[in-house]
């Protein structure tokens, strides 16, 4: 979560820039507000959350309570559902995390009613989580490729969908932030600070 928060802090301005031509220029600042609150919530927990599942659930609840927009419920649901699947185990295997993330992504698809190809965060999450079987780095790379592949798509969900054909030619900010988070997961797995 610390790596994710750091990644969001680093790239917030860029996410907001991506959100200008097809959205409303706030994706970066919204996620920054959420992940800053996640850091504070984790720091405030004493004793520290029991395991990864508890951390993710707390982070998800915090995002829902602080982000607003569509990103709040969607990212909040992703983390909360993934955390719920992991339960209260102190440690989880890579295989367990993969299964839990599958459930988390399915919950996001259910909530938003979107599918891959709609130019949303799912265009990065679905290929990213599918590639987790290979390695965390492969997942990050697949998610980034998925985010880049949203450029020629016409948005069918979210605010960009109101632009119709004019949404074509822009990279989706939600897919980009999803790729960023899977990149942070890979960094954490590599032991990067």
């Amino acid at each position: 979560m610390v790596a994710a928060a750091a990644a969001v802090e680093r790239e917030a301005q860029w996410l907001t820039e991506l959100d200008s031509p097809i959205g409303d220029a706030d994706h970066g600042s919204n996620l920054l507000r959420g992940f800053t609150a996640v850091r504070a919530a984790l720091d405030a927990q004493d004793p520290a959350p029991a395991g990864p599942g508890a951390v993710l659930q707390l982070a998800g609840r915090t995002l829902i309570s602080t982000v607003g927009g569509a990103s709040g419920p969607l990212y909040g649901t992703l983390l909360r559902r993934t955390g719920k699947e992991l339960g209260d185990a102190a440690e989880v295997s890579d295989e367990e995390l993969r299964a839990a993330l599958d459930a988390g992504v399915a919950a996001v698809a259910g909530l938003g009613g979107a599918a891959p190809g709609d130019k949303t965060m799912l265009d990065a999450l679905v290929p990213g989580v599918a590639a987790l079987g290979t390695s965390y780095r492969a997942a990050a790379d697949a998610a980034e490729a998925g985010a880049r592949a949203t450029v020629p798509l016409q948005a069918r969900k979210g605010r960009a969908s109101y632009l119709g054909e004019r949404s074509v030619g822009h990279q989706d900010p939600g897919a980009t932030s999803s790729a960023l988070l899977l990149g942070a997961l890979a960094d954490a797995a590599d032991g990067a600070p």
Partner: protein, 334 residues
């Protein structure tokens, strides 16, 4: 872009502090971002809660008061509020007869209000939801998140608020709210993009000689760009688009409520001049206008431009529209 703010982070809280200082008949929780009509639970009325991103002022907090909303939840700029705010608002206004959520059709607003409805119902509060989706610029709604909610939100909040004030049940208030939405259509044009405090510069580039047709209220570009036209041609285009769509839901000869709404940076001199053209087009097409509002009601920060909203009003809707209202931004008959 120069802005009269302290910082982009504090802009919403600062506005709420100012609102509290200006309007003692509002209870403003700056910390939790909930604006409640003082004494909202007295009188056993159905509660009316709306909310959405900030930047559309006076929508929604400006419409909290007698005969309109019981509470409003302002989100961050152009970002829907969070469920915590909505649940707090529902608790603050529920007198046991239930609460109606008035939700503009944007993914974030819909998701957050749905989550809030679930939480409020767990608290034993009856909740109904009406979705406002009046924007005709979104044509292929099968392939979008549906039509946007824009100017009709004002009609829905006023009429439903009057029904609640008169003691109608939750089901009755929800029914008339849905009826108003179903018979309302809007179309917006932008002469300039707006600047969000977070970005600090215009969200898209619109050259001097061009205008955007079919814009929403979030600074996103519209469906089409054309060379700038005189007000009379813009009015013909906008009213034409609204009437064409409205014809599918109501007979063409009934009276309408008309709203000529400024996006925030267009002066009343221009809005009234534009309205003269709107009134002319409506007269030429044989549409009787029962009531008219001209002004900045559903804005988009500092965007220049306007929108036209028409609602085919039956007798009950007209009566509820005329009922007294006393809020910071809309007031008559009291």
């Amino acid at each position: 872009m120069k802005m009269l703010i302290n910082s982009p982070q504090s802009v919403v809280a600062d506005a709420l502090r100012g609102m509290a200082a200006a309007h003692p008949d509002l209870e403003v929780d700056v910390e939790q971002r909930v604006v409640v009509r003082r004494g909202a639970r007295e009188g056993g009325r159905v509660g009316l809660v709306s909310g959405g991103g900030s930047g559309h002022e006076p929508l929604h907090a400006g419409f909290v008061g007698y005969g309109m909303l019981s509470a409003a939840c302002p989100g961050e700029v152009f970002t829907s509020p969070v469920p915590d705010q909505m649940v707090r608002a529902a608790r603050a206004v529920d007198s046991g007869r239930g609460v109606l959520f008035v939700v503009k059709n944007y993914t974030g607003d819909v998701l957050n209000f749905d989550m809030a409805a679930e939480l409020a119902e767990e608290d034993g509060i009856r909740v109904e939801r009406v979705l406002v989706n009046d924007d005709v610029a979104v044509t292929d709604s099968l392939y979008t998140a549906g039509r946007r909610g824009t100017g009709a939100t004002l009609f829905v909040e006023k009429v439903a608020g009057a029904a609640a004030e008169a003691g109608a049940s939750l089901e009755e208030v929800a029914e008339v709210a849905r009826r108003v939405n179903a018979s309302s259509r809007s179309f917006g044009v932008a002469l300039s993009a707006c600047s969000t405090p977070a970005k600090g510069s215009p969200t898209f580039d619109l050259p001097d000689g061009e205008l955007e047709l079919g814009v929403g209220i979030h600074g996103e570009p519209g469906r089409e760009r054309r060379a700038m036209m005189p007000a009379r041609e813009i009015a013909e285009f906008a009213v034409g688009a609204v009437l064409e769509d409205l014809a599918q839901v109501a007979p063409a000869d009934g009276p309408v409520l008309a709203l000529v709404n400024g996006m925030g940076a267009t002066p009343l001199l221009e809005l009234y001049g534009f309205h003269a053209e709107v009134a002319r087009v409506l007269a030429e097409r044989g549409v009787p206008v029962a009531r008219t509002l001209v002004g900045n009601y559903v804005t988009s920060l500092d965007m220049a431009g306007c929108s036209v909203t028409l609602c085919r009003a039956d007798e009950e809707v007209l009566r509820l529209w005329d009922a007294p209202v006393q809020t910071s931004a809309l007031r008559w008959g009291r």
